[in-house]
């Protein structure tokens, strides 16, 4: 196991007590934490030089009735060991009325990611300056990326119900 990962793990465990750190793979570190401590963990990582937010993703665990947010962090560095590390910070929030604080104060480029997740998963990021639609034109009852949104049914209900113009003329 590489040195950077283990030292980072020890370092993190000494600061935070309610987190779970595992080195899942070579150069991949997974931190699971409560939703309130995301900001503190991310800012401490940022101070430690892990200053590149690669991705904010979300997984809909419909069976557990939870949404899992994944922040993937790496470092802008020319140090090869540190550069290889990718840290996945995970937190789980309830599916009904999901709310979370924005991390824009720590990583400026989180803005479009949070806007996208707000649109596709319906997560409300508190403190985000413009949670306006990013990608979609139509409004959907269930945010479309949630697991209970059935695209095939939606296509049948919306797009397939629109008649061809020739058919319409024939009927009249």
């Amino acid at each position: 196991m590489n040195h950077t990962g283990t030292s980072l793990k020890e370092n993190l465990l000494s600061y935070f007590d309610d987190i779970l750190v595992e080195i899942s793979d070579e150069h991949r570190l997974t931190i699971s934490c409560k939703k309130d401590s995301v900001i503190t963990i991310l800012s401490s990582l940022n101070r430690n030089g892990y200053n590149h937010l690669a991705l904010i993703s979300c997984v809909d665990w419909i069976k557990d009735n939870e949404l899992e947010l994944v922040y993937i962090i790496s470092a802008y560095t020319e140090d090869s060991e540190k550069g290889k590390m990718n840290i996945l910070v995970k937190t789980k929030i309830a599916r009904e009325k999901p709310e979370l604080l924005t991390v824009m104060s720590i990583y400026e480029n989180a803005e479009p990611y949070e806007r996208e997740l707000h649109e596709l998963y319906g997560i409300n990021f508190k403190g985000h300056p413009r949670l306006i639609p990013l990608l979609l034109e139509r409004e959907y009852e269930i945010p479309p990326f949630r697991k209970d949104f059935d695209t095939r049914k939606y296509v049948q209900d919306v797009f397939d119900k629109i008649p061809f113009v020739e058919d319409k003329k024939g009927r009249k």
């Binding site: 899942s24 793979d25 150069h27 991949r28 200053n51 590149h52 937010l53 690669a54 991705l55 993703s57 979300c58 997984v59 809909d60 994944v70 993937i72 802008y76 020319e78 090869s80 550069g83 290889k84 990718n86 996945l88 990583y107 400026e108 480029n109 803005e111 479009p112 990611y113 639609p133 990013l134 990608l135 979609l136 034109e137 479309p144 990326f145 949104f149 695209t151 095939r152």
Partner: protein
């Protein structure tokens, strides 16, 4: 002076892809720019959850039409990691060569877009012609001009045909012999320098803060390349350099693209020399009954636009549970573009946008 709202795109000759920017202008100066993506949103990641692991290959390559090959690679890498499949060494070399060819093609496309933007039709035509030569190579290996579906979990679909090595070398020499012409007419052109110098300038600190990767970061003076940091395929088998510039403006970015193209060509020639013999793919399980164990993976590679990542989750079924692509254009197009356009002139909107190397389908997915 009166503030005017101006729409740049989606129907616009200077626009690469289906993308739109709303500009608030005062006279010729842009006060505020708002990127307006989503014209190409197809919900890929949702569609991937409804298709089996193998069925997703035709889907992922359509995410970015300019360089479908890196999309194939990243998905293949993630599946390999989740399912624990090894890739034979010859396949690694073939992948590298193939990806570098794709990078050359993509950069030539970028050169077309940039030259076209500046009204430099001649160079644009040349670049597109040379890209077609690269596409001819792809057509010979894979049968497709744009979408290839060549990289496969466990290797590549088939070996190079006979005499293909010479064809690659011939094509690269044809393109390489025109580099002096390109330099004379375009890269050393005084007007090109005047048009792009200090345009869309991003400092090193800003670039880091706003998540820049790829050329945008390398043009600010940082040697960051996933191919060096976390080598995949056969990139650790040969020596190569990361081209860097320090200006941080459109001029530096376009020069980085040019240098990278030349470096890629050199790399292909070195890889061709070192290529071992052997198998090109390992057997994968029956794709119709292929369940991948409960796991997750984050893999990344260096596409021709920067760091490309894929977060893939499996829950033990025959379909991915969740896939999320981290595409380089995302932050370039939504965060950096808005910043870079401020206080610039209207004439430079397309100039800055193309020099940031944005492709719209990558943003929307």
């Amino acid at each position: 002076m009166r503030e005017l709202e101006l729409y740049f795109g989606p129907q616009h000759l200077g626009m690469v892809g289906n993308f739109s920017i709303t500009l608030n202008v005062e006279g010729d100066r842009i006060v505020k720019a708002t990127a307006n993506p989503g014209f190409l949103h197809r919900g890929f990641e949702k569609l991937m959850e409804q298709r089996t692991w193998i069925q997703n290959f035709p889907l992922v390559c359509r995410i970015n039409v300019v360089e479908p090959d890196h999309m194939e690679l990243i998905y293949a890498m993630a599946v390999e990691k989740l399912a624990g499949i090894e890739v034979p060494e010859r396949a690694q070399f073939i992948r590298s060569i193939y990806l570098e060819l794709a990078r050359v093609g993509s950069h030539l496309f970028g050169l077309w877009a940039y030259a076209n933007m500046l009204g430099f039709d001649t160079v644009a035509n040349w670049a597109m012609y040379h890209r077609d030569l690269v596409l001819d190579l792809f057509e010979e290996i894979t049968g497709g001009r744009v979408y290839h579906i060549y990289i496969w979990p466990g290797g590549v679909r088939r070996d190079f045909p006979k005499g293909f090595k010479d064809k690659i070398i011939n094509t690269l020499h044809t393109i390489g012999s025109c580099v002096p012409d390109y330099d004379d007419t375009f890269f050393n052109n005084r007007i090109f320098y005047k048009r792009s110098k200090d345009i869309g300038k991003i400092t090193h600190e800003e670039a880091k803060r706003m998540g820049a990767v790829g050329q945008v970061l390398r043009a600010t003076g940082m040697k960051q390349d996933i191919r060096k940091i976390e080598p995949y395929a056969a990139y650790d088998q040969v020596d190569w350099e990361i081209p860097v510039r320090t200006g941080g403006d459109a001029y530096s970015r376009i020069w980085v693209v040019r240098d990278e193209m030349i470096e890629s060509v050199r790399m292909i020639l070195k890889l061709l020399d070192k290529m071992p013999e052997g198998e090109v793919y390992n057997k994968i399980p029956n794709p119709f009954k292929w369940n991948i164990p409960d796991n997750e993976a984050y893999v990344r590679c260096e596409s021709s636009r920067g760091e490309l990542g894929l977060y893939l989750v499996s829950n033990g079924e025959n379909k991915p549970y969740r896939a999320h692509f981290r595409t380089p254009s995302y932050n370039h197009g939504l965060t950096i573009l808005e910043k870079a356009l401020e206080n610039e002139s209207i004439a430079d909107v397309g100039n800055i946008m193309i020099s940031l190397y944005i492709t719209a389908p990558e943003i929307d997915r």
